[in-house]
Amino acid sequence: MDQTVSLERDSLILIHAPTGRDARLLQELFQNASLRSHVCLSVDDLCREVERGVGTIFIAEEALAPSAIESISAVLQKQGAWSDLPLLVLTVGGEPTQAIRERLARLEPLGELTLLERPLRSDTLVSAARTAIRARTRQYEVRRRDAELQLVTDNVPVLISYIDRAQIYRRVNQTYSEWFGRTTEEIVGRTIQDVIGEPHYTNAQAHISQALDGERVSFESQLWDKSGLLRDVSVSYAPDIALDGTVRGFISLVQDITERKRAERALRATSDRLQFLGELGEVTRALTAPEGVMTIVARMTAEHLKASGCFYADVESDMDTLTVQVNYSAEGSGGVVGAYRLSSFCPGFTADIRQGETTVIRGAGREQEAEEGSGLFHALGVEALVCCPLVRDGKLTALMAVTQMAPRDWTVAEVELFETVVDRSWAYIERARAQSELRKSEQQFRTLADTIPNLAWMAYAGGEIFWYNQRWYDYTGTTPDVVEGWGWQRVHHPDSLPSVLEGWKHSISNGTPFEMVFPLKGSDGSFRLFLTRVAPVCDNFGTVVRWFGTNTDIDEQKRTEDALRRANGDLEEFAYVASHDLQEPLRMVNVYTQLLLRRLGSEVTPQLSEYAGYVSTGVRRMESLIRDLLTYSRTAHDDDEEMSGSADLSVALRHAIASVDARVQETRAQITFDSLPVVSGDEGQMSHVFQNLLSNALKYCKNEETPRIHVGAEHSNRDWVVSIRDNGIGFSQDHAERIFGLFKRLHRDEDYPGTGLGLAICKRIIERYHGRIWAESKVGVGSTFYFALPDGNHG
């Protein structure tokens, strides 16, 4: 078929009238009528021209020799079905002969035959030519549209075919023929049954009948492609109904939906899986007994995977003995509960399990036939299984398996799903165990809590109190129904309740411990002060599950503390006033003794001077005694500010050295020291300790030797131990403890003046900061004073 016929040729008139002047006359006539024509001198010429494209043919009857008919028939048969070439035969007047009739009959099916009887009027000829060309132009138009349609359909990724009533392919597009790997010609003209094959034809038969009854049909089916792959297709049949209502055939549209189907299946599988896992989590959340969790998980998993059974087994510490705790069996056979030895199973299976790997057996009989131990699977009625071990801290502790009584080809998705289920189950069991433990410990706690002297209670995470100990009810005189939840507010004082509520709610929303002192009303209606401490109890995931609270009666303690504070304040005031009032008379004694001496002037004898000296010495000694007693009494009680501070001992020592500078100069003493730590305490008081110890070292030095004093520090078992070592006169170790007592002195005042309070003050200061002070000494060699203070890093 020549697809490249030009538009000019659509209207070309071919003339074949080899005898006489007819050809030339016709050409002239058509030329005058503006019709293009071509005179073919031979039949061969005519056939060539026809193949190149033609509008119509004028042929003289006498040229229709048998050989010519044959050639023309051959060329016309090559024209497509669309072609119905107008053939205008110029006959000789009168009835055509029998021979002519026969020849014309042969041409009839090949074109639209018109007989024009000569002689002809010119306008008749022109009119006939125009009519013929118009018809032919329409045929070409049809052919072009058909070609376009084919081009379009060939490029659509849908299998398109036209099938007639006899279920024979009339037309198929290229996609169609490519699907089956055949040429169009191999399909067109054959039956559906022939082309798509028996099983698919059987599936489609009913739909085909419906289409041939004039219905539009759509359905999904499967179809083998040329490579033998079964693919999913969607099929539509649209009937071709003639004007009179008869169904001539139908158009079949077949679309490959394999990918879409696959995606849909994957989506469904995922959503099924998610839904299943979601339900599993929901159902087990409410359970607190591990066995209950396992039972549910086993049943749901087996049902979801359509397996025969699912079991859970604990593995003993020998990593061999396993006890099947929970077994779900679809058929109710359930005989696997019991103890087994892992080593009795096939070695391959056992090894994988011990390594913590998921083991998949598709057919125990098939795969493990050669292996020793496969008989055990048979005995258990297990032919296929997926087994997931739980390995914790390198030890196999449990396993879970889903089983099938018949061989089963577990898919990757199924194995993965089971692994997920098992993973989650361990978590669910952990959760259930934790909750069960919590309940157990709660029970123990309640028993214990009823015996303690504090009021105690427990609340849910949200703060609703659900339990009080007996002491609470005894003290408050309340009953559970009125104080549970938030009813406890009735025993609070209205003044303190708002801040209690605020603090408690803050703790609940932040999960932080609560501590507060507030009064609670007793059964007698009077309030007592309680220290309340509430601690959150968290599960393994760090979520607060409970609150434990205690109320400790500190009323007495508080009163004692207040009294102590008052007493300390009084003592301070007393010490201050006492020292002032004790010093005043001394001042008078001293000043007026001096004034007397002054007034006496020249009358003062050496003896009087000596006596006055005794008065003065006595006064000074009394003054320093009073001063030291005051210092001693001031270190007696805690001052929060001083207690919480930190003291750099290096700084304290520097201050102390500066304060004894005069004595250092006088004795030419050498003082050396290590770097000293920072401790908790008051720097001024630490300096006082150093000052006392240094002045002792400087006081009790040997006359013949340069005093050497070394201050060192060592860290030892959570303490800082500071030492002050001298090379002085020393003392007997027997007195090592006595010297820290009040007014304890080893020497006469005339030899070594002192109040006997210095070391007592040191001891008092060091003990105040939870330290110790002691001394080691040897007569004639020297003394070392030590004090140890906590390093402050250990609460």
Partner: protein, 189 residues
């Protein structure tokens, strides 16, 4: 005739009162002294002050903080509230070395804070402190440094030269003359 310095001494300890007199004599300061031996007497003096002959308005007040009945701080506040004594220089005498007492006294407008020493020479230095305060306040008296010049005894001169005595603490100094005080409060002036 030497003009005497009018001093009101509020002091409960007669021994200390004697020592104050010794210190003034030691420094050749002519003085007339009224003595109130407790807070109540001081208040009573204040109520009569400028009205009766026995209660002249003083040039200078020496106040012991540690008083029976009415405390020294209260007495000081009462004097400060009196229109004739708003600017009268006050020297606080005390045996207390507590920082809070010293701070409070300074805050209430004391010119000096003199801690009573237990050594005689130290105590006698009070005389030079009184002279210093009176001079600063522009009070003219017979024994003042401008008139007496070098006639002060050698002892006092030496004490002056040593400057900072351990017996007193320098505090807020009174500034400006107390003219109103002397013309109306001192009938001899």
């Amino acid at each position: 005739m030497d003009k005497a310095l009018h001093i009101l001494l509020i002091e409960d300890n007669p021994g200390d009162a004697g020592l104050v007199r010794e210190a003034l004599r030691e420094h050749n300061i002519p003085f007339e002294m009224a003595l109130a031996s407790d807070g109540a007497e001081a208040e009573s003096y204040l109520s009569r002050m400028g009205k009766t002959i026995d209660a002249p308005c003083p040039d200078l007040i020496l106040l012991d903080l540690n008083l029976p009945k009415v405390g020294g701080h209260e007495v000081l506040a009462s004097f400060r509230a009196h229109p004739l004594c708003t600017l009268t220089p006050v020297i606080v005498l005390t045996s207390s070395n507590a920082p809070r007492d010293r701070e409070l006294a300074i805050a209430m407008g004391a010119a000096r804070y003199f801690r009573k020493p237990s050594d005689l020479p130290d105590f006698l230095r009070l005389g030079s402190v009184i002279r210093e305060v009176a001079t600063e306040a522009g009070i003219a008296f017979g024994g003042s440094a401008f008139e007496r010049g070098k006639s002060a005894p050698a002892f006092a001169e030496q004490e002056m030269a040593r400057g900072n005595s351990p017996g007193f603490r320098t505090g807020v100094r009174m500034v400006g003359p107390c003219t109103g005080l002397r013309t109306s409060g001192n009938p001899e002036g």
